[in-house]
């Protein structure tokens, strides 16, 4: 509470320090061709360079300055910088459209200078990805993938080859908050992680925070991946799509009422199962295997002050074998948002967000038929406000009420089945939060972003709630009525980061943040599985807590065309969760009796060199890090490397526009192998060779490395029609990266054992995609 009062006294003493008469200019920044709002565009006054701001998630900006005539400069990566003469004699609105720039022209336009936002902003540990770049990075089977592309950034590691799971600064994969238009996506993978649920056609903006999380985000320890969908072209109708090796895409967008409202519908479906139909194998002939995604969004602007947005996502994986089994799983989300401008300094957004993840597993065989289902549903009501105070302070504050309902598992069976029907009690809870933050330009050199998030987690009845001792025996059991509070956890999460400009192109930054997490993924398999189970903090499970400090040097050179940063971080983790040996997590009422709790720590150095502009662009990212966990029952209670501990991690991305029509791209990755547990001996038990182990994660898998290349050929320019070809080769030199290493009795030398390495990708994998667009 002490920290809290300091924060508020700080806020209010600065509130009333207005001097000279000031006026505000505000408005929305859009793409000229499509009318899409631009997120994070920079607006500055040429005459007062320190006085700058950036557009928020809705493209809105507000800038306040003393009475004068100014040149307003508006810049955004990939767009021509615009300038407007403004006479600030009264507050007014100015909406500006920027035109996308032709990369090849850029080199000759010297006036179009990149800015130094990355150096000046107090935000650290964050990266914004440009969709053009994502679209150019070569990928597996031509399926553009945001989640795979972000793992090419320092501090973000891919869970395994070909997998969309990721770890941020030593955190577990369930410690990432993945938001699609503010809705939590619980399972962001298709097909066991080979593809992500994000169809890049429908995506407008991707931001990832791995440290220094702004106070408006909360609920997860390690990172925030904030993904925003396209709003749709409000000028013209366009149809675009692509035919790839394993899937096809189609997107339709256009105005509902020109310049007032637009819609976008984007869909994707795989057709791997067509190969099955052609197979002579009867098993495969009867098999089903596909996934699809549907993204839709519509918006309407009533006037300059009021706008409404409705967006949704629906995706599913379907897998089965005729008369044997069938499964499906997927997410659905929906977001209804209302923007309101109270005045040209106070922006408000109200959101009602729905999110659902569920799975169904069915066995059709007569003697062991069953249907197992599980689902998690969230409803979140949010109010976010942004207030540009005009005296070097921008305030953000808001509240949200998030209701979870989790059905961990239900089994229904027929009378003839070998199984009984079973029901595990649903769990309900509220995760409520309030936050306030202030970005304070304390001087020309020093900017401080500080804030506080108050979070409260309430576990609610009805149901029977137990507590367990360390051995998993029931200690107490109590029954609660509907809506009764079973457990309440309140947490204060301070967040602060600051940047100090050494000169125009160099700064140092530091940050501290605390994050808590009250929803936890239980999964004792090593890869993404549809049977992922979420549990809320409870009598047994305490909120996970992470404290992170980081500091770094940020440097731009060659007129801000190159960005370099070096960041170091240290993170302390409390109340981490692991499973006892032989834990049976599926449809288990007493699942919390199978858990053990420990701590963790992670630290590292991240180096990042990026060239954002020009015909040749790309980046090099390198991470040196260590990630450890500590549990009483494991390795004598000593720290041991977590599975995702990766000492070295290197990514190189290069994109080169050779001509107007040809763009080449390439990525290279190298990483230390995962920490794994291998046998240290063997014995015979029950007639089987059995392996003995001494301790957890004492070994390393072999290191991984891979080179991918891609090329895009743009079709000739037509007025109404455009097409392009994308070619790619994944794993160019056919490196066999380890996926799993298993141990078995030798198949060749009797009476001995062997280690077997499985690689998913044993050779180079070519791909080709044809893309088209009509307008």
């Amino acid at each position: 509470m002490f920290k809290f009062s300091i924060l508020f006294s700080l806020l209010f003493t600065t509130f009333y320090s207005f001097g000279q008469k000031k006026f505000t200019i505000s408005g929305t920044i859009k793409d000229e061709a499509t009318g899409e709002t631009l997120i994070g565009a920079t607006i500055r006054l040429k005459e007062l360079p320190q006085n700058s701001t950036a557009t928020n998630s809705y493209g809105f900006y507000s800038l306040t300055a003393p009475r004068n005539d100014y040149t307003l400069l508006i810049s955004y990566t990939g767009y021509e910088t615009a300038s407007r003469l403004v006479s600030l004699t009264q507050s007014h609105t100015l909406n500006i459209s920027l035109s996308a720039k032709n990369v090849l022209k850029e080199v000759v336009i010297s006036s179009n200078k990149p800015n130094n936002d990355n150096v000046a902003s107090p935000q650290m540990g964050a990266e914004k990805l440009n969709m053009t770049q994502i679209n150019n990075v070569p990928v597996l089977l031509g399926e553009k993938d945001i989640l795979k592309t972000i793992t090419l950034l320092p501090g973000i590691k891919s869970a395994s080859e070909g997998n969309t799971g990721f770890y941020v600064r030593g955190g577990a994969s369930d410690q990432n908050l993945i938001l699609l238009d503010e809705a939590t996506v619980y399972n962001a993978s298709h097909l066991f992680g080979f593809f992500s649920t994000f169809n890049s056609d429908a995506i407008k903006d991707v931001s990832i925070y791995k440290g220094g999380m702004p106070a408006e985000y909360g609920g997860r320890l390690s990172s925030v991946l904030d993904i925003k969908m396209n709003e749709g072209n409000n000028k013209d109708y366009t149809v675009q799509g692509g035919l790839g090796l394993i899937s096809s895409r189609l997107k339709i967008e256009g105005p509902i009422i020109k310049d007032k409202g637009s819609f976008m519908i984007s869909a994707r479906r795989t057709y791997i199962d067509l190969f099955f139909k052609a197979s002579s194998d009867t098993t495969l002939k009867g098999s089903t295997l596909y996934f699809y995604d549907l993204n839709a969004k519509a918006n309407y602007h009533f006037d300059d002050k009021n706008a409404v947005y409705l967006s949704g996502y629906f995706g599913k994986d379907v897998l089965g074998l005729k008369n044997t089994f069938g499964t499906n799983w997927g997410n659905s989300t929906g977001t209804l948002r209302f923007n309101h401008l109270f005045n040209n300094r106070l922006f408000s957004n109200t959101s009602l967000v729905y999110s659902n993840y569920n799975y169904v597993i069915q066995s059709f065989e007569s003697n062991d038929n069953f249907k197992a289902t599980s689902k998690i549903t969230d409803i979140n009501l949010k109010e976010d406000l942004q207030y540009s105070m005009g005296n070097n302070h921008t305030l953000k504050f808001g509240v949200n009420i998030l209701h979870h309902s989790i059905a961990p598992g239900d089994i229904t069976t027929s009378q003839a089945s070998s199984f009984n029907s079973k029901h595990v009690e649903q769990r309900y809870g509220f995760e409520n939060a309030a936050y306030v933050s202030d970005e304070w330009r304390a001087s020309d050199k020093l900017t401080i972003l500080y804030g506080l998030r108050l979070s409260d987690m309430m576990l609610l009845g009805p149901g029977t709630f137990k507590t367990y001792d360390a051995a998993g025996n029931t200690l107490t059991s109590a029954t609660y009525g509907s809506g009764a509070i079973v457990k309440n956890y309140f947490a204060l999460e301070p967040r602060i980061s600051a940047s100090y400009m050494l000169d125009d192109e160099n700064s140092i930054k530091a940050s501290y943040n605390r994050n808590t997490q009250n929803i936890h993924l239980l999964s004792n398999s090593t890869s993404s599985s549809p049977t992922d189970l979420y549990v809320l903090s409870s009598n047994n499970i305490k909120p996970e807590i992470a404290d992170q400090v980081s500091t770094g040097l940020f440097k731009n050179f060659k007129d801000n065309t190159y960005e370099f940063s070096a960041e170091v971080y240290y993170k302390w983790l409390q109340n981490q969760i692991d499973y006892k040996d032989g834990a049976q997590l599926i449809v288990n009422q007493d699942v919390e009796s199978l858990l053990t709790y420990g701590t963790g720590r992670a630290y590292g150095l991240e180096l990042f060199l990026k060239k954002k502009y020009g015909r040749f662009n790309g980046w090099i990212g390198y991470t040196l890090s260590r990630t450890e966990r500590k549990f009483n029952a494991i390795n004598n209670g000593d720290y041991y490397p977590a599975t995702q501990d990766r000492t070295h991690d290197l990514s190189v991305v290069g994109i080169y526009s050779i001509t107007k029509r040809w763009t080449l791209s390439s990525t290279f990755i190298y990483g230390t192998g995962n920490a794994v547990t291998y046998p240290t001996g063997k014995y015979n038990i029950g007639g089987l060779t059995t392996y003995s182990y001494s301790g957890r994660n004492g070994y390393r898998e072999p290191s991984t490395n891979r080179l991918d290349i891609g090329a895009t050929l743009e079709g000739k320019e037509h007025k109404k029609y455009h097409s392009s070809w994308t070619f790619g080769i994944y794993n160019v030199y056919g490196h066999k990266n380890p996926y799993t290493i298993t141990f078995r009795d030798s198949k060749t030398v009797p009476n001995t054992s062997e280690a077997v390495e499985t690689s998913i990708f044993g050779t180079a994998i070519p791909s080709i995609t044809w893309n088209f667009k009509f307008q």
């Binding site: 062991d368 089994i411 032989g582 547990t677 240290t680 001996g681 063997k682 038990i685 009795d745 280690a755």
Partner: protein, 271 residues
């Protein structure tokens, strides 16, 4: 149930092999430098409900790279105490194998094992459950790889209602043991008539093969031991648990187990 969900996940992978063909997945035998923590005591103690010799075998584990021959631990003092406090001394009938004769263990009785070896005393206890009858063993066409009438083996039995039961199955095809652990409890099937497929891809079974299935009734700690091993064998895509030495009923720590269990077998010729 756990097993059936695993089975379905396993079935995914059969389908995913098609995907693997596209992506050219491959396996290779590799050399690994593994630490050597050999020479630990391994105890395999079994008391069954069948009249005759009962065996407790003592051996040591060996480095991974050795051949599968395990040095016997000889000269140990081994005894089993039954429910009535009667002490049965076991004699070493061959190096590392200790034995005594009984008229068979009795359901509900708790047996205690004492072993003294190299100045250390190990003990464990296990309770023999009531016998649940194995109804039958049948063969049916496999849902996967079913060309040439490849068969799956199904075991049928009635689970008694209202009590917790744990089972383990051991399967032999033409007298060769299938390299898989099969263990089930009745968490999801209490009181049901069960027909469980013993999934495996170790030896393909075709008409004409002779298949023997042994059904064991286990107590809970021993089930947990086998269940942990069963979870660890499901490695490969789709994931496995982090392996470890399974928890057992022996104190102080030693590898292996001491199990008082019921046993019955049935042999069929697959048609």
């Amino acid at each position: 149930m756990m097993n059936n969900v695993k089975k379905i996940i396993h079935n995914y992978h059969i389908i995913l092999t098609v995907f693997a063909l596209i992506t050219s997945s491959c396996t290779k035998v590799i050399d690994l430098k593994l630490n050597n923590a050999a020479g630990q005591l391994v105890i395999e103690g079994n008391i069954t409900n069948i009249s005759g010799a009962q065996y407790i075998k003592l051996s040591k584990n060996v480095p991974f790279t050795n051949t599968n021959t395990y040095p016997p631990v000889t000269g140990a003092y081994v005894s089993v105490i039954d429910q009535n406090g009667k002490n049965h001394f076991l004699t070493e009938v061959s190096p590392g194998t200790y034995s005594f004769n009984t008229s068979g263990g009795i359901a509900g009785n708790t047996y205690k094992m004492y072993i003294q070896v190299n100045g250390q005393t190990y003990q464990a206890s296990s309770t023999m459950p009531a016998t649940v009858a194995l109804d039958s063993v049948t063969a049916q066409n496999s849902a996967f790889k079913n060309s040439n009438n490849r068969k799956d083996i199904v075991v049928h039995y009635q689970d008694p209602s209202g009590i917790a039961n744990q089972y383990r199955f051991v399967m032999y095809v033409n007298n060769i043991q299938i390299k898989r652990v099969y263990t089930f409890d009745d968490e999801f099937s209490d009181g049901k008539y069960l027909s469980l497929i013993l999934n495996q891809n170790d030896i393909d079974i075709y008409p004409g093969d002779t298949v023997t299935v042994e059904m064991q009734g286990l107590d809970k700690p021993i089930y947990q031991y086998w269940f942990t091993l069963m979870q660890q064998q499901d490695n490969g895509p789709g994931g496995s648990v982090t392996p470890s030495n399974p928890p057992n009923n022996i104190t102080p720590d030693a590898l292996g187990y001491f199990s008082a269990h019921t046993t019955q077998s049935e042999t069929i010729v697959v048609r």
